[in-house]
Subunit: 337 residues, 2 copies
DNA sequence: TTGTAGGCGTTATCAG
DNA sequence: CTGATAACGCCTACAA
């Protein structure tokens, strides 16, 4: 039994008789032989691994994305090299370089990355899919959630419920998603003939703690908002927490809305109105796209896709602003009140 | 400039003059040269990568663990190969085999894995750290949260608050953590001279949906519990959601407690009493242990560590069972009630 | 201090 | 259809 035959048995590439192939496979099993992936990578120049670059943020959103990526990647026998928790350019640079030669492609999810950071630190012939990143030039495939449209719909939803004092809790500066959501909020206000007051746009950072701080600040205003639109669900969770601590009822006193529609949203008290896409689906979609690019040796036309979002109305906005004592629905949810 | 010199410049291993080393490094930078990791792995037999095997469960717990692992691994220039979402033995087997030769060690977090599955599918000389797994034999290092002690303390906390009808929402069968927590709950009841009624131990699966179902079931009982101890925080979130939907007030009508103390626990409505360890710390601890084992070529004495947990009392249990209208503290949190 | 050569375990290309 | 052999890019003795 020669070494070349074994290779053919595993690869199914060259010509080999089925009987010998089986024999190789069974004896390999018995000897616990597994082809050395480093040697294989060395000569084929394929690592069968995709890299995932995550930002400093955390929460349910990113773990869901990873689940989606992992599931899609495994179907095609790909592995996942994960590198998380960087936001400043220097850390991203280091992570990119470290991944060089270890991956066949990259999914980048750092919303404030610059295209030239990628170009300068990652082999140019390898495909990259940008997920929720600012898109500059057309050098890379990219997938974005419809941040503008989602924030726009959500704001309209609040306006249609009679709200006129709608506060917006911002995300991190420089975060592309966050800025787009802010734009959508403003656009809806303007469409309804309202002014965008800077004092209704309060600071946040996509974390629960940031949401809590933002809500506390809003509660100290002499005119309080009748609705708070948090730029992501983690922030909304913090807002709900601060409102509860201050004795404000949601949605009777203040409506609260989020963005992303993370799985836990529907289990919050009250269930959180939110807007978003299937998060695992998002990860899977990006992965499929990347794997296709790898298969096509990155010679395809790059494209930027914007995924439509779905608005899910739950109890946290289930009261009309002009009925402060609460709608029937919210009363049913709080019969003890 | 010879190839050997370049190697020495990067490794800092053999003798090399500092001036030439600098010269190599700067020209490498200019040429964007990066040593090929596959070739390096092939000869050094080190991948500089650690594998992480996660179960089918999701939620904030696992993403926090990964953050902790990643941070600790990066400090020593290690990469992370993540494989998630498997629970049945066949999938674990496949994942283990796929990681062979791609990692220098493994962190396993599949609570119902069997030691012989590991032995049979992973190179025996490579170190493995079991995180929250059932420990059989002493073949591997292992780290466990003090599930028994934590559940015991929590149950005592509820008993001390006057509760006598304490329901327990179980985790998945075969899940070691879950079973240990159940044991701790039962032990505390017995210490207080109470019987463990099987009807107070309801089915759950460590998910929000499972918690919701469990709470619904409990609400249909003709004697309702005065406290619900959920075997993890995700379950507790589902319990809170079902109770709210049914109009039960927490903690006035029912106290609710969880396990793990995930970051979101303190932002829930009401803030959730829970018990656990620092989750990122847990991941970092496991990683440090694994990296030490790698450095010592796995020749150290294996040990099993049980990490002490901390009980954090929050509003969800802040009422005495014999004061159904609520304590001062909970009244302050709900001035509108 | 630097250059040279053998080998790590594959795949791929030829002969047989 | 199977066996031999030259890369793949690096590390590490050893020679210069």
């Amino acid at each position: 039994m020669s070494i070349g035959t074994v290779s053919r048995a595993f690869n199914g590439n060259g010509p080999i008789r089925e009987a010998t192939r089986q024999r190789v496979l069974t004896t390999a099993e018995a000897l616990r032989y597994v082809p050395n992936s480093a040697a294989r990578t060395l000569i084929t120049r394929r690592t069968m691994t995709i890299g995932v670059l995550l930002p400093d943020l955390y929460g349910e959103f990113f773990s869901e994305v990873i689940r989606g990526i992992d599931t899609a990647a495994r179907r095609l026998q790909y592995h996942l090299l994960v590198s998380s928790s960087h936001n400043d350019t220097e850390e991203i640079r280091a992570a990119l370089r470290a991944m060089r030669g270890r991956v066949d492609g990259l999914i980048v999810m750092s919303p404030n990355i610059e295209a030239r950071t990628l170009e300068a630190n990652f082999p140019p012939h390898l495909p990259i899919v940008l997920l929720n990143c600012r898109v500059e030039g057309g050098a890379y495939d990219s997938i974005n959630v419809d941040n503008f449209g989602g924030a726009h719909s959500m704001t309209r939803h609040l306006l249609d419920a009679g709200h006129r004092r709608i506060a917006f809790v911002r995300g991190p500066r420089e975060n592309y998603d966050a800025e787009e959501r802010l734009r959508g909020y403003r656009a809806a206000l303007i469409e309804y003939g309202l002014e965008c007051c800077p004092e209704w746009e309060v600071t946040g950072d996509f974390t629960e703690a940031g949401g809590e701080r933002a809500a506390s600040e809003l509660l100290n205003r002499h005119t309080r908002p009748s609705a708070v639109f948090a730029s992501n669900d983690s922030t909304a969770i913090g807002v709900l927490s601060a409102l509860r601590a201050a004795g404000s009822r949601v949605p009777e006193d203040v409506a609260v809305a989020g963005f992303d529609d993370i799985p836990v949203a529907r289990y919050l008290t009250p269930p959180l109105t939110s807007v978003g896409v299937s998060i695992t689906g998002l990860g899977g979609f990006a992965t499929d796209k990347l794997l296709r690019a790898i298969a096509e040796r990155n010679e395809h036309a790059k494209q930027n896709e914007i995924l439509p979002v779905r608005l899910t109305v739950r109890d946290s906005t289930a009261a009309r602003a002009d009925e402060p004592q609460g709608s029937l629905r919210s009363r049913l949810s709080h019969p003890a009140a």
